[in-house]
Symmetry: none
Subunit: 225 residues, 2 copies
Amino acid sequence: MRVLVVDDEVRLADALARGLRSEGFAVDVAHDGQDGLHLASENSYDAVLLDVMLPVLSGYRVVQALREADNWVPVLMLSAKDGEHDQADGLDLGADDYLVKPFSYVVLLARLRALVRRGAQPRPVSLTVGDLVLDPGSRSVRRGDAPIDLTTREFSLLELLMRRAGQVVSKTDLLAGVWDANADNDLNVVEVYVGYLRRKIDTPFGRRSITTVRGAGYRLEPGGD
Amino acid sequence: MRVLVVDDEVRLADALARGLRSEGFAVDVAHDGQDGLHLASENSYDAVLLDVMLPVLSGYRVVQALREADNWVPVLMLSAKDGEHDQADGLDLGADDYLVKPFSYVVLLARLRALVRRGAQPRPVSLTVGDLVLDPGSRSVRRGDAPIDLTTREFSLLELLMRRAGQVVSKTDLLAGVWDANADNDLNVVEVYVGYLRRKIDTPFGRRSITTVRGAGYRLEPGGD
DNA sequence: GTGATACCTGAGAGCAGACTGAGGGTGGCT
DNA sequence: AGCCACCCTCAGTCTGCTCTCAGGTATCAC
């Protein structure tokens, strides 16, 4: 049973590692998101304990990246925050379970064992925001019953916005997430594609689900309108 | 939980039986296809582990016979061969899952548990998508009442698309699934064969059931049009 | 109001992905 | 050997997606 622990609080991470090793797990440790993602991608773990607040790359992003790479290792998210939304966000992004700090070690162990037992579960997620439905498997999008035809770029863009529905996503983030890491792209291309999206998912339905937040980015309204 | 193990390698069969018994299963063992079929028919098991290469009656034939007798006990096929086609053949004939020897015992156990949990699933041996019907057994294809003549390659391609109907299948996946795992093939061959297929299953009927999803792959429309 | 900034959008060039027709190679059959 | 069906490669064509650019419009500060 191999487990990866990703947490920037070194003392906590070490304590966890020690504890888990004494339970018979083989434990690797990373202290930032980038290292964590790298290790998780390169190795085959039975579970990953992942802090949300991480340097370089947040826990959310790590899970997201893993899932996008079709890596369905069970992920147990750890977070200092306890807002309802954080939990929902974490699970939305593909985490399998969620634990709020401070947590009891016994509880952690129980949840971890449950995760490992359940194993990796490729899930056919379809994202739903209001009456918008996006299914990555069939690469299809619907508003209610009306199918919507999107190009690859438009699809990726909408997917990212839906994964972060209700949150403001900066143009830089969108560029990094939808376009390749090559930052040599003009931010204007994001504006252009948000325009295309609006014309396909909003205008025909008299909606306005993608809000511009001047100076900050765009937000997909959770209500769907 | 009753399980039947059918394998002519006595040592393997015994090892499996011992292991499964220690997990709490009640295990019966048969060493050839005829015995296996007989036991499976007479008793009500929760799952059958079935080797492909068997004396007297091959594993394929056993499954086939069981299904024809309307016996839908979950069957996990074990095989020493690992060609893509063997796998497809096994599943075609009505096996529920497939494992290539040598396999890890842990994996076997996990798959077996999953099968038992799912239970017996009556299903027709032929694939149907809209008015397209493909019968792997007789290697025949029909659109409605009109029989369609396909070459081997075209048949495998359509079969894979039908198994994933509604989902987008990438050209890489198609290449890996229909052509051999040898990746030295050009992806263009997939495009060519999709073209051939369209000319046989769509054009004559004025349909368009294979959709191109630019940059992603192809999708066989579940509606059949 | 005026200017500055941020965002939107129409037009069009460029290009990559997909389609298709032609043809060579291979293996089975007569 | 000759024929045929099938498999695959190649190159040319075409479609329509992507992105840039430039000018227009909304929003904000003063």
